[in-house]
Structure formats: structure tokens, C-alpha cells
Symmetry: C2
Subunit: 310 residues, 2 copies
């Protein structure tokens, strides 16, 4: 195992990809490899990019990869594809625009699917981020489609959280503003050559002024046209400024949140696997138990053996 | 307790609202009330409405309430507001457009927030849906902002899952299509008077043809202009047709999935409260443990007492 992990720490692509597969499949014993990997993690600068469908997140990611590479930094990308709960696995992953980086050894791109009813950014996503971190990637970009819960989780995982919007998302966007506003470190109005860009940016700035912040960082609203590359230089320099700002306490607090989040995910998986299996729960429900009673029964019955079973 | 639950079963608004508060606050002992409530649930027709910000979900919900009321049905609405993980609670809830129904006793509207790192549609949302169900509401509409995980969870909760889109969401919507396609029972292209509506509807129909379905239901793509009420009659008649289609096996399978989902939520909460408290995990992480080792230690240590502690 030591040798295997040493290879990963040296940036070996094959060993790293192999561990990622073990992580994805939850192959028995993968946890033992993840322990030293997580010990090693915490060096990379982790950037979360989120926004509604159609906002141009993938193009933005693509542009950022190019800039970071030209700064001499190695880059990992974890692209989260929404997964069908019925067919399982990441079935889409049309990372076509990123294909230009596929021959660059300094870039490691991995698509992961979200999972079934355990919800949200899965532990395996975080595990894969940790593997890239342990490989020595300088920057890791986590890109996700979604508004709502996904963003909350990205904020917990990322050192720098970027929210991409486009002009004229409609008044309904009001409904998600407050949550996003406390989470984002950088706002981007993409497709800023479109009508309404200044109004959208102005609305964002106004909301930011009345939003309480966790830290003293002043959240900027940047304008870009990612498809032509306009404004991307500024995005990169603001990301670097935020990285500098986050050194020390903020960085360690976010790392601790990240570790906690992973730990809870690990607990959930372990519980489902070892005590509250779907099979056991379904059979109690079929007998007519309500969910609270079903959990009570397993908890007081089989659950007594937790830990001892191993 | 019997008397309290009897009041809820009789549709008493005060008793029901009180139980919802207990559920929201997770007041000790609320589970004992939820047991008979969940036993009673399963009668209402549960409709999930989801879609990106700006698609007009709230206006749609508003129109549906009016139509169902005119059919003589009682209606419950659970509006899920994204919550800030930092300030806690559902801080927005500008359900202004629904205010017209606030004096109608046949309509019960409740906003709920999503929760912290346990993720997704919270158990309390499901519990609140169950209370409305036990109250005897004929139709319950769950409205949520979001793409991705939220939709997956709605599909598990709802009998009929409606996805609202608008023309010209951009090519990025491709990235979420496959997941959504297997989940939706009804697609709506809202704001169908806008440019590109026919193209969006055509794209959806084309995708639907190549998507495997769980059941024999043919997913329709409807056109509406919710703000003027155009096309809403057809939406209602298709919802009623889907309800008729779902009788029997499909309805019970979805109910079982719903109960299972709640059971897992209950497990997660119990585990966090009784074994893996945030405090314990954070202190292990601060001592330098990686997440996997931290969980191992609590699992083999304190976890041994699971169940016995009660």
C-alpha cells in the first residue's frame, strides 16, 4: 500500500486513476488507501464553479484551465454530471469543450456522477478531489450544474466559490439569491455582451451590499464573455487574490469543514451498508411499518451489534 | 396523543400547524406523533414541480391551486426555499403570488427550508407532506427550485413529477437532460409565447423518444403561458390522467420509495444526534485524524453503545 500511495503522491497518473476507480466502485479496502491520501490533502487551491444550466460554466472552466496552465500550474478538474437514479453511473459527461486539454499531462479531468438517495455531492467526489490534491495538483476545479443544495455543498468543499450567472435569468432568481449570496466568493455575469448584463450585475452588487459575510472578503461581480475569453484574465487575478486572502485561518477552517463533510458521508455509507440496508428497511415497510417505527426497530435490534460485527 | 392526531386527521389547521412546528424544530417526542401520521399517509395525490430559476414554477403552482379548488379538491402546498447554511432557516419565502389563496381554508401553504450538510430535500419536508396528507388534502404540490439532486428526490417523493422549462435555456441544458428525462412524468414549456418555444418542445420530444421509461406512461410536452393561464386546463387534465394511470402498483411502489427515503433521513438524523455528533467529529479532525479514521474510531468506540444508550 505504501508504494501505491507513494506513486500517487509523486503524481503518477495510472496509480491515481486506479485509486479513483476503487473509490468510484467502493471496492472493499479502498478506505485504507484514502486515509493517507486525506492526510496529505489540503495543499491544492480548490475552486468551485456553479451556476444554472446555460450559464457557460464549462466554457469558463475550459478558459481557466488554459490560464492556470500558462501560469505553470497543474490543474485537476472534477466535473459533476447529474446522474440518472435509474440507470446509475455518470451517463453523460459530454466534456467536449475540455477535450483540447486531454493531451496535456498537467491537466487531469474526471467526470463523476451524483448518487442516489444519499444525496448531494457524494463522498466519492470529495475523495476524488483529495486524490488530485495528494497527486500535487496546484489548482482543482469542481464544476457542477445546479442551484440550491449543490452550491451549499460546494461552498463547504471549495476554497474559492464562483457563481456564474447570465443576464436576464428572470425574477425567479430572487428566490435563490440569499442562499447564494452568502456562499459565493466571486460572482460572474457571463455572456455580458447580452442585453441586461449591467442590470443583472447592478442587482447582484446591490444584494451583496446588504448580505452579511463570513469574512472580510469583498465579493466582486465580474463581467465576462467566456466563449471569446473576454474578462477571463481578471477572473484569474481575482481568484489568485482570493487565494492569498484565504491563507491561514480561513483555509484551515474550510479544510476542517471539508473533512467533516466527508466524515458524515462516510458515516452514512457505513450505516447503510452495515446496519440499515435497503433490503431490511423495505421489508419492514412492506410489513406496514411507518418509517419512524422501522428505524426504531432496526436501531434497537440489529443496531446493537454495530462495530462488534467487524 | 390520540386526540391530537385525531384532530389532524379531521383536518384541523391549528393542530396540524402545531405538529409541523414540532417537526421543523425536531422537538423531542415529535416522532411519536409522526408514526400514526405516516401510517395514515398515502391517500393524497402528490405533485412535484421543479425547474430552473425563472421558469415560472410559482405562477404555475398558483394557477394549479385555482384549478384544483374549482374541481372541489383541497390543496396543500410545500414550497421549498433554498436556505442559507450560515444563517439557518427559510429566510426568503416570498410566496407573494400565492397570497391570493391565503384566506381559502381549502388551501394550506407552507414554506420549508432545505437543511445543512445532511443534504437535499429534508426529512422534515417529507414529514410536512405527510401531515398534509393525513389532514386529508386531496392534492399536495411540492414546489422546488433546482436542477440535479433535488429533482431526483422529488421523483422519489411525488406521484406525478412535472418539469417546467422555458424556451432557449441554452445548450448547457443538454447536460441535465438525461437525468431529468427519466424522472419527469410531464414536461411543460412555459412562456411558450417566446421565441424558440417550438424548438425547445421539439428537442424535448426528440429526447423523450430515445429515453427508457420506468412505466408505460407516455410523457407529454405541454405548452403554457402560466402568467396568462394559457394551457393550464390541459396541464390539469394531463395530471388527472397521470393520476388515473398511477393507481395500484405504481402508486404503491412510489409510496414505498417515499417511506424508504424518509427512513434513511431519520437514520441520518439519529446517527448524527446520538453517535457521530459534529462536536466529536470536529475534535478528532482537529487532532489530525483523516475523515475515514475519525469515523472508524467513533464507530468502534462510542458506536458500540448504539441503542443501549436509550
Amino acid at each position: 500500500m505504501d508504494n501505491f500511495c507513494e506513486k500517487i503522491f509523486a503524481g503518477d497518473v495510472r496509480a491515481s486513476a486506479r485509486l479513483m476507480r476503487l473509490v468510484d466502485d467502493r471496492t472493499a479496502g479502498y478506505e485504507e488507501y484514502m486515509k493517507p491520501v486525506w492526510k496529505r490533502a489540503g495543499r491544492a487551491h480548490i475552486i468551485g464553479i456553479t451556476g444554472a444550466p446555460g450559464s457557460g460554466k464549462s466554457t469558463m472552466t475550459d478558459q481557466l484551465i488554459t490560464r492556470f496552465r500558462s501560469e505553470g500550474k497543474t490543474v485537476g478538474v472534477v466535473a459533476i454530471d447529474p446522474t440518472s437514479p435509474f440507470s446509475g453511473g455518470a451517463i453523460l459527461g459530454d466534456r467536449i469543450r475540455m477535450a483540447g486539454h486531454s493531451t496535456d499531462e498537467g491537466v487531469f479531468i474526471r467526470s463523476v456522477g451524483t448518487r442516489g438517495h444519499l444525496g448531494g455531492l457524494s463522498v466519492s467526489t470529495m475523495d476524488i478531489t483529495a486524490v488530485m490534491d495528494a497527486m500535487g495538483k496546484d489548482v482543482i476545479i469542481i464544476e457542477t450544474v445546479g442551484v440550491g443544495q449543490d452550491e451549499v455543498e460546494i461552498a463547504m468543499v471549495a476554497d474559492t466559490c464562483i457563481v456564474v450567472t447570465v443576464p436576464g435569468m428572470g425574477d425567479d432568481i430572487q428566490a435563490i439569491k440569499a442562499g447564494i449570496f452568502e456562499i459565493a466568493d466571486i460572482f460572474i455575469v457571463n455572456k455580458a455582451d447580452r442585453d441586461g448584463a449591467e442590470r443583472t450585475a447592478g442587482d447582484l452588487e446591490m444584494m451583496l451590499e446588504i448580505t452579511p459575510r463570513r469574512s472580510g472578503w469583498k465579493v466582486p461581480v465580474l463581467r465576462t464573455a467566456a466563449s471569446s475569453g473576454e474578462g477571463i484574465d481578471e477572473v484569474v487575478s481575482v481568484i489568485n487574490a482570493h487565494k492569498a486572502f484565504c491563507g491561514g485561518n480561513i483555509k484551515s477552517a474550510r479544510l476542517e469543514d471539508r473533512l467533516l463533510h466527508v466524515a458524515y458521508g462516510v458515516v452514512r455509507e457505513k450505516i447503510v451498508r452495515e446496519v440499515f440496508s435497503e433490503e431490511k428497511l423495505r421489508s419492514l415497510l412492506r410489513e406496514g411499518a411507518d418509517p419512524y417505527s422501522a428505524v426504531d426497530r432496526l436501531w434497537h435490534g440489529e443496531a446493537r451489534g454495530v462495530g462488534a460485527a467487524e
